[in-house]
Amino acid sequence: EADIYQTPRYLVIGTGKKITLECSQTMGHDKMYWYQQDPGMELHLIHYSYGVNSTEKGDLSSESTVSRIRTEHFPLTLESARPSHTSQYLCASGGRQGGTTEAFFGQGTRLTVV
């Protein structure tokens, strides 16, 4: 079992609230990713990082932000939640810079914005 953790697993929150989804890995991976996925559908890359102080926006336009102050921690923040943000958010990590190892996924956070 991979050592990558997401909290919370489930979250119901009101419109306009600010939320932070946590993701931590203990494998020392440089690369970390955030995906948004509706049940059984495509994985949409929203942010990624190749290491500390490195963050990039993914292919899906998102109103979220990320930070990478420590190798093991890659939190995702929504400044003002909207019903359109309702989805599952998956964090993944994989390998070191220059390598292409497998991606390990966390269990996901299922977010509902009411």
Binding site: Y33, Y35, G40, M41, E42, L43, L45, Y48, Y50, D59, L90, A92, G94, Q97, G98, T100, E102, A103, F104, F105, G106, Q107, G108
Partner: protein, 112 residues
Amino acid sequence: GQQVMQIPQYQHVQEGEDFTTYCNSSTTLSNIQWYKQRPGGHPVFLIQLVKSGEVKKQKRLTFQFGEAKKNSSLHITATQTTDVGTYFCAGWGSGGYQKVTFGTGTKLQVIP
């Protein structure tokens, strides 16, 4: 940017029938990976292919990487109900800061 498409999007098969999903990239890939996501779960790594024309087998699963390194396939022989899930390919681009792009996925349903 790099796009990775999979067909079919959905497939229903009778238990015991074979199943194939195809993955096509808009650009040449340095390698390709396959993942399986069970209903309600998260994607789990199955295999990685690196060489042009490479074929790998895992029990009833056969994975192939195209000669041009732009396409791949996953074939399951004699499907079982445990094969149910969504299968994603994931392609790594070339260059210094490589990025992985997941395919659109194929959802497999196996009818007992």
